[in-house]
C-alpha cells in the first residue's frame, strides 16, 4: 500500500500536461466476494504498468474497475491532468477478452467504425491507415472479419488503440492467441505510446519486452488480495 513517488508533470501529445492515474484504497467486489481490497497505486504518463498474478487474483476486476465498468465499493480512481470534462473511461482504450469485431464487416470497415465513433476529427483516414499498417492488416482490409483466424481477429481488436488517440490504454491479456511477431507489434505500439507520454496498464503473463515499465503484483489468497507490491523494472 505504498504510494509511488510521482513524476513531474510534463507536456505530452495528449494535452497540456501529462496525466497521472491515481487509485487510492480500492475495494472492488465481484459476486459478493471482495476481490480487490485496499489497493493503492499511481501510474504516470510515459509509464506502462504490468499487472501480474495468478488466475483469479483480480487483474480483470481491477482493469474493469478502473474503466468504470464495475462499481467501487470503496476508494477512488482519479486522473490528475487530462481532460476534466471527460470521465476516465472516455479517455481510455479498454481492450478486454472480447475483440469487439463484427464478422460481417470487412477488416477496414471495422477499424473505420471505431476510428469515427471514438474520435471526432478529420484525420480518420490517416488514423485508420496507421492502425492497419502497424498491425499488418493491410493485405486483409477488404476481407470480412468473420473469416480471420483467432490471432488476426485479436490484432484487429488491438488495432482500435491506434485508430483513435487516447492517453490511457487498459489492456487485459492483450497477447491471447497472438504469435511472437504479433506480440512484437503490440510491444512496439505500447513502447511508442509510452514514449509519446501515454499510459498503459496491462494484465499479462508474458514478458512483452516493454520499456519504462513497473509491475504490480496481485496475489490470490482465498480470492482476496493480501498485499501488493510495486517493483520498478
Amino acid at each position: 500500500m505504498r504510494r509511488i513517488a510521482t513524476q513531474p508533470l510534463q507536456p505530452t501529445i495528449f494535452g497540456v500536461t501529462a496525466v497521472q492515474l491515481i487509485a487510492e484504497q480500492l475495494v472492488i467486489n465481484r459476486g459478493g466476494r471482495t476481490i480487490i481490497e485496499g489497493l493503492s497505486f499511481a501510474v504516470s504518463s510515459g509509464e506502462a504498468m504490468l499487472l501480474t498474478g495468478p488466475n483469479g487474483a483480480g487483474k480483470t476486476t481491477l482493469l474493469r474497475g478502473l474503466a468504470g465498468f464495475l462499481p467501487l465499493q470503496f476508494g477512488s480512481v482519479r486522473l490528475d491532468g487530462g481532460d476534466p470534462d471527460k470521465s476516465i473511461s472516455e479517455q481510455a482504450h479498454v481492450i478486454g477478452h472480447a475483440n469487439a469485431v463484427k464478422p460481417t464487416l470487412t477488416v477496414r470497415e471495422n477499424v473505420v467504425f471505431w476510428a469515427r465513433y471514438l474520435m471526432d476529427d478529420d484525420e480518420v483516414d490517416s488514423r485508420v491507415a496507421r492502425a492497419l499498417t502497424h498491425f499488418q492488416l493491410d493485405d486483409l482490409e477488404d476481407y470480412p472479419a468473420g473469416y480471420l483466424s483467432a490471432g488476426q481477429k485479436r490484432r484487429l481488436g488491438l488495432a482500435r488503440v491506434l485508430a483513435a488517440i487516447r492517453p490511457i490504454w487498459l489492456l487485459d491479456e492483450p497477447t491471447v492467441s497472438l504469435d511472437t511477431v504479433s506480440v512484437g507489434l503490440l510491444a512496439a505500439a505500447v513502447n511508442d505510446h509510452t514514449k509519446n507520454g501515454g499510459m498503459v496498464i496491462a494484465a499479462t503473463h508474458l514478458p512483452l519486452g516493454l520499456e519504462r515499465t513497473k509491475q504490480l503484483q496481485l496475489t490470490a489468497s482465498s480470492a482476496r488480495m493480501e498485499s501488493s507490491q510495486e517493483i520498478h523494472l
Partner: protein, 221 residues
C-alpha cells in the same frame, strides 16, 4: 453527432448484411397472417372486420423476433463496452440502436402489411390508413422493445422472457393502432386514436432510451 451517425449507419449495414433477421420477421409475419383464414374459415365479412387486429398482432409478434438482436450481438462480442467508453452517452447509444431497428425492421414490416391485408379482405379505403398507423406506431414497438432487450440481455433463453416483458408494454399501441384503422373505415375518418397512437410513439422515443440505458448499465457490471 458524427459518432451517432456512424453508429446508426453501422447498425443498418449490419442489418442489411445479416439479412436473416429481417427475412425471419417477414416470413413469420406472412405465415401468421396466412394461417388466420385457414383457422377462421372463409367468411369474408368476418375476416375484413378483424383484419386490422390480426395484422397488428402479427406485426408485434414478428417484430418481437428481432428485438433480441438489438443489444445481444454487441454484448456478446464486447462491442457494447467499447461503445460505452465512446463520446456518446449510453442514452444516445440506445437511441441509435433502437432507431436502426425501426428503420431496418419496423418500416419494412409496416410496408409489407397492406400486401398481407389482401389475404384478409381488408377494405380498400383502409389501406392508406393502415400504412399510416403502422408507420406511426412502429417506433413505439422498437423503442419499447429496446427496454425489454436491455433488461433481458444476460438472461438465459431471454427470448421468452423478452416476450413476457415487452408484450404488455405494447397493449396501448395495439389498442389505438387497431382503433385508428377501424375508425378510418367509418364516417369520421382519421380520429383521435391516430393522434394518441402518435403520442404513444413519441413518448416511447423520448423515454425508452433512458430506461434502456439504465438497464444496460446494470447488465454491464
Amino acid at each position: 453527432m458524427k459518432a451517432f451517425l456512424s453508429l446508426l449507419t453501422r447498425d443498418l449495414r449490419l442489418a442489411a448484411r445479416d439479412g436473416g433477421a429481417l427475412g425471419t420477421a417477414f416470413g413469420f409475419f406472412l405465415i401468421v397472417v396466412a394461417l388466420m383464414p385457414l383457422g377462421l374459415g372463409p367468411d369474408l365479412n368476418l375476416l375484413s372486420r378483424i383484419a386490422a387486429g390480426i395484422l397488428w398482432i402479427a406485426l408485434l409478434l414478428a417484430a418481437l423476433l428481432s428485438l433480441g438482436r438489438i443489444f445481444e450481438t454487441d454484448h456478446d462480442d464486447g462491442t457494447l463496452e467499447v461503445l460505452a467508453t465512446g463520446p456518446l452517452p449510453l442514452e444516445l447509444v440506445t437511441t441509435a440502436k433502437a432507431l436502426a431497428h425501426w428503420i431496418s425492421t419496423g418500416i419494412p414490416l409496416a410496408l409489407l402489411a397492406p400486401l398481407l391485408g389482401i389475404l384478409l379482405n381488408l377494405e380498400l379505403k383502409a389501406y392508406p390508413v393502415l400504412i399510416a398507423t403502422m408507420l406511426a406506431g412502429t417506433p413505439a414497438v422498437s423503442f419499447l422493445g429496446a427496454i425489454g432487450a436491455a433488461l433481458t440481455l444476460k438472461a438465459r433463453r431471454g427470448g421468452l422472457l423478452l416476450a413476457l416483458v415487452v408484450l404488455p408494454l405494447y397493449v396501448p399501441t395495439l389498442i389505438f393502432g387497431i382503433a385508428a384503422v377501424s375508425a378510418a373505415a367509418g364516417p369520421d375518418g382519421l380520429t383521435a386514436s391516430f393522434l394518441i397512437l402518435s403520442a404513444i410513439s413519441l413518448a416511447a422515443v423520448a423515454l425508452g432510451p433512458w430506461a434502456a440505458a439504465a438497464a444496460l448499465r446494470i447488465q454491464m457490471q
